[in-house]
């Protein structure tokens, strides 16, 4: 019931803010948006000292928001017109599926469903056991539920039990607490539901550009990425961050490319939630901000970029201020300003980056496929400027992401902390949806799937 409320909350917020987004994408982003709002509701309650161990308060608050938006929608749109619209859209979706119903699509869709069900089933079965979560988000979640506040006994200066991961932005930890609160014995379910949402949302975005068959094939290729699928069973914040960042950036790209304001709103909302998942998301948010600004300048529409920038700053600052002013913690600085350029350090780091990035055991064929299609598509990029903005989003974000690791206070010599082998390896999840999307919608693939394999 609690999860249903979160889903409905996300769905109604998305429908209110961006009614013109495709129905499939609305369903896909509903849970992540619901979880995002849930975290802000819980944080707000904590700020005004409402104990979070009263389990019914958070779903209750969510239900109030749902009712308010439902009333707003009722008065905004005539209910009869609204119902007829939905009936029409649903009919279109079913007709579309039936007319494109062929065995290969059924097999691919079946494989996607099987994989998602396998991840969800395992996630709900196993308790939390990975080190990062036990000493980080999940411990925070358990103490939040037990003591009713984020500022709890694990931050006791006399007996500190926190780690760097305990003070990561709280979206993941608060939703883990929510899962425990509504009766689940393990918090893994949140991550697995983000995995399921990724499959639906990615399929939804792909469908805007390509056929059902192609969308199913590339969705499967994305979600079967070995490292990504394996981590979605664990209690990790990386798949959550990857969802918000990648689907957010894809929506911003759709908004830019199709001049569709609704997608821009969803994109900004998702990037905003990404800021509250992991510290490195601030880089993606800054990059997304520049992209939004650039789009705004091209279309002479400045209000949205400015509002986005201000809200992002407020969201980012809210947690930073909470950590510095409310929580009694002292944390080591892991990044240092790059004052002197160290070529040897950069080369050592890049060597590791290449090793990890092109490891097929981690990422299957995705990275190789991306580079292969990019090389084959060079002519189209030059002649038709094919998907240049998408490549800019992907490669620009990736380059900045690698630079963050260069700024870390380590020499990348043997025996040093495995930043690239661990953190970078999982952070790459943010880029895979963009890579697969590029492969699927490049001029070459579009011709292949829309012209030759569309029957």
């Amino acid at each position: 019931m609690g999860l249903l409320i979160v889903f409905l909350l996300g769905l109604i917020v998305v429908h209110t803010l961006a009614g013109n987004v495709s129905s499939l994408l609305k369903v896909g982003v509903a849970l992540p948006v619901g979880f995002g709002i849930n975290a802000f509701v819980m944080f707000g309650l904590d700020i005004i000292h409402v104990p979070l161990y009263y389990v019914s308060i958070v779903p209750g608050m969510d239900a109030i928001i749902i009712l308010m938006l439902a009333v707003y929608l009722f008065y905004r749109t005539s209910p009869l017109v609204y119902l007829l619209e939905w009936r029409l859209r649903l009919g279109q979706v079913i007709d579309g599926l039936l007319s494109r119903f062929h065995p290969a699509w059924v097999l691919l869709a079946g494989a996607v469903i099987w994989l998602v069900c396998a991840v969800v089933a395992q996630a709900f079965f196993w308790p939390v056991f990975i080190y990062d979560s036990i000493t980080g988000f999940d411990f925070v979640a358990k103490t939040v539920l037990s003591e009713g506040t984020l500022n709890n006994s694990i931050f006791d200066p006399q007996y500190p039990l926190y780690t760097l991961r305990s003070v990561y932005p709280p979206l993941v930890a608060l939703n883990f607490a929510f899962m425990y609160g509504i009766g689940f014995s393990s918090s893994h379910g949140v991550v697995a539901l983000f995995y399921a949402s990724m499959a639906v949302s990615f399929y939804g975005v792909l469908r805007l550009y390509t056929t059902h068959f192609s969308a199913a094939l590339f969705t499967l290729l994305l979600i079967i990425t070995p490292e990504y699928a394996s981590f979605s069973i664990l209690s990790s914040s990386n798949p959550v961050c990857a969802y918000y960042v990648s689907i957010g950036l894809l929506c911003l790209y759709v908004a830019y490319e199709r001049d569709a304001a609704a997608y821009s709103t969803i994109g900004m909302l998702l990037i905003l939630f990404a800021l509250w998942t992991r510290p490195e998301a601030v880089v993606f948010a800054a990059f997304a901000g520049v992209f939004v600004l650039w789009t705004g300048i091209r279309k002479r529409a400045f209000v949205k970029p400015i509002v986005f920038g201000v809200v992002c700053l407020a969201v980012f600052a809210s947690w930073q201020l909470y950590v510095r002013l409310v929580l009694p913690v002292q944390l080591p600085e892991t990044t240092v300003p790059v004052a002197v350029f160290d070529t040897d350090k950069l080369l050592r780091m890049l060597e590791k980056v290449v090793d990890v990035t092109f490891n097929t055991r981690y990422y299957g064929v995705v990275v190789f496929l991306f580079f292969a299609v990019m090389v084959m598509n060079i002519r189209n990029m030059i002649v038709y400027k094919d998907r240049l903005a998408l490549l800019l989003l992907l490669c620009g974000g990736w380059a900045i992401y690698i630079l963050i690791f260069y700024a870390i206070d380590t020499d990348f010599k043997p025996g040093s902390t495995n930043w690239i082998e661990d953190a970078y390896r999982r952070g790459l999840f943010c880029f895979f949806p963009l890579m697969v999307f590029y492969v699927a919608v490049s001029r070459l693939s579009t011709k292949l799937f829309n012209q030759y394999l569309n029957f």
Binding site: L108, F125, L161, S186, I224, G364, V365, L453
Partner: protein
């Protein structure tokens, strides 16, 4: 000969036209997809791992659905989880438990039943929360050491720290201080 050849050609052409051609195309596409998925699983260890592991793990979770949360954790973390659950279940919520030194958890000459994380206070605290743990090595650095209420016994270590020693000594238990 050529007439016969022409008629066979026409027959084949009639087989693959209209709706039949569509079915053939569908079957070819299906075959292509099956081949692609087979090749991915066959030639890439990552996909092979996902395919095999997910299949067996889902089967495992169906078979052992009746296991409770603690038992499932013990499947993953082994004896360490079992020992920490014993500490949690045998002590009151406000207990402060003295843990043995590293040399007891990991003796040099034998293989330990514990995993490395058991030496980490932050990791152990998760399993026995809200109880607190203090390690023998933290005697001089942690003020909480003076408030110890229980002693964790590992490999018969701990009896010397306990207030009352029972008649029969157990290898793994927890005692009042």
């Amino acid at each position: 000969m050529s007439e016969k050849y022409q008629s066979i050609k026409l027959k084949i052409a009639s087989l693959f036209s209209g709706k039949r051609l569509l079915y053939v195309k569908h079957m070819l596409l299906l075959g292509g997809v099956v081949l692609l998925l087979w090749a991915l699983v066959q030639f890439n260890s990552g996909y092979e791992h996902i395919f095999n592991r997910f299949g067996s793990d889902v089967g495992f979770s169906w078979r052992y659905d009746s296991l409770n949360y603690d038992r499932r954790l013990e499947v993953k973390l082994g004896f360490t989880a079992k020992y920490l659950h014993m500490l949690r279940d045998s002590t009151p919520a406000d207990a402060v438990i003295l843990m043995p030194p590293d040399s007891i958890f990991f003796p040099k000459d034998t293989t330990s039943r514990f995993i490395q994380q058991v030496r980490n206070r932050r990791w152990v605290a998760y399993f026995i929360y809200p109880r607190k743990v203090v390690y023998q090595e933290e005697r001089d650095t942690l003020a909480l050491y003076k408030q110890i209420t229980h002693v964790a016994v590992v490999d018969y270590w701990g009896y010397q720290e306990a207030a009352h020693v029972p008649g029969k000594e157990k290898r793994y238990t927890v005692l009042n201080r």
